[in-house]
Amino acid sequence: MTESLETVLSVEGLKVYFRSEDEVARAVDGVDFEVRRRETVCLVGESGCGKTVSALALLGLVPRPPGEIAGGRVRFCGEDLLDRNEAAMETVRGRRIGMVFQEPQTSLNPVFTIGEQIAEPLRIHLSLPEPEIRERSLQLLNDVGIDSPGQRLADYPHQLSGGQRQRVMIAMALACGPELIIADEPTTALDVTVQAQILRLINRLQQSHGMSVLYITHDLGVVSQIADRVYVMYAGVIVETGAVEQVFRNPRHPYTQALLESLPSRKKRGRRLYSIPGTVPHPAYKPAGCPFHPRCPRAIGACREQVPGMCGFDDHHVARCPVAAGRNAADWCTYGYPSN
């Protein structure tokens, strides 16, 4: 990592709540992260931790109601995204921020050809003339490694394999030359060999197009392959962040440690896998204090009462655990964000 990296996206204190009649689900509860130019940042966590909702919120895609942005700021290339109205958002979405979603089967429209779907962002955002649209579409399909692109333009989504559909999704996300791509579990539904191809593709495109990538996944294996930096989320908050080597080689938060410990691998054969007791708390009924304390092997009395702040370990390696940092409970509030 070089120091001259400028910040493309910065999210500060983002809170997204979902209200129903008798409860408030605090899906995202004060999340901070940033993505710098030409960087791949992974947001990793188990289902329900708020990683997808964070991404949807910064794109203005959280349905309101029942959703509600309860606080925070999202800045994209210096501009505030949360204040924008829908029309202003549309000039950003799909044009300056591309999106790739988990299921290529359901995110492509089955009744339009691939060509028509790739042409859409080019027509709407760039207002290109038709012949140029076709040329550009062919180039895009070629870029994402699709065989005989001319033929594929006339195909419908069902005629393509899962991997090809995901390549088409990526081509559409790239269509307008975005500065940032948000990819939400783009390889989860794919086979490992296809997954490896897609990850390599994203990697290569990022280098050649100079984009930044915010990659959302629950798969720590994928993170280890593509991330420059990682944010680990648990129950709506970031619990640890750092460069991928720091977080994987030297995890500091007990949750990150437990996650890595619990991954099966051939090297752990014959040993019992560590398994985190209990389950992820429901976003409407989170425990007081540190949200991980009921499952944490290192929890002390103070963890039940105070929301821990972020503690620095090494250069840019930060974890929300004063116990791991060896700090006194009395000092908690002086580190990082004050408890609320």
């Binding site: 188990e46 289902s47 490694g145 699709i146 065989d147 393509l160 394999s161 899962g162 991997g163 090809q164 390549r167 086979d191 490992v192 060999t193 296809v194 997954q195 490896a196 191809q197 990850l199 390599r200 593709l201 990697n203 629950h218 798969d219 720590l220 294996g221 994928v222 993170v223 280890s224 392959q225 593509i226 991928v244 080597e245 994987f248 080689r249 437990a258 996650l259 890595l260 619990s262 991954l263 099966p264 691998s265 051939r266 090297k267 752990k268 054969r269 019992r272 896998l273 560590y274 398994s275 985190i276 389950t279 992820v280």
Partner: protein, 320 residues
Amino acid sequence: MDILRIEKLKKHFPIRRGFFQRTVGWVRAVEDVSLALAGGKTLGLVGESGCGKTTVARMILNLLPADAGRILYKGVDICGFSDRDMKPFRKQIQIVFQDPYGSLNPRMTVGQTLGEGLRMVGTLGRQPAQERLERLLELVGMAPAAVDRYPHEFSGGQRQRIGIARALSVEPSLIICDEPVSALDVSIQAQIINLLKDLQDRLGLSYLFISHDLNVVGYLCHHVAVMYKGQIMEYAPAEEIFENPLHPYTHILLAAVPDPEALKKPAVAILDSEHQESAMEFPEGCRFQVKCTEKDDRCRQFGGELIPVGKDHFVRCGKA
């Protein structure tokens, strides 16, 4: 002794087109599959989606008739058995499904679901049945209170425990696990894997473990069979497969598996553009040659038999 032996199993599905549903071709879903699973052990069956793993499982359970081949369960060929003949074997061979949401009846309480199995094994009065229900739940690490609750009240991991308890309710010796942990979160996945291992140790169960996740397979399985387009490409003890893989496809699979401990960029052993290959399309000779990085002219002539290359190690590749 092998609890399960499969010999030259075959299943082709017809492709029908047109008004008269004429058969225009065949999907050769499973071709010449032979496997052996020793009692108390775990055999991993790996391969990408559509390679025929689940079709093999369905034939073993006799939910799908095989076209040819033998399925020997404890030495008895159960292939082609009628429902009546199959009945005693249904208690012996059970399955745990991938999707813990879709595989439990939402209208039945956990007690009712498990009770069906328990009734199969013997006629029991109300009281002892209750006791056995609770023992079953305890076996899979659940509280007895779960008996009166419905599937929707449980999380994915808990439901998978119920699915396992249901399989165990008839006291089987062989359980087919069809991707049992791939729908679960990491922290829950470890709980279920530990549970499967504990149950194997306690009850001496044998598992046919179908998965696409080689990290799980490497952790859990004693033997591994790698499947591609309906054929076993390589079969060997787990250490052999990982330490000394011989088939180019096994190489590619292993290279594609993300290893969280390695922190490496995605491997290069794979073709970068995607070849559109339909399920009906089978090249002459080796089925893998289209994607193979080491193919030459001989691959077209390859007869396609499993070649023994070492103790317990077989490869379907002309170059091995």
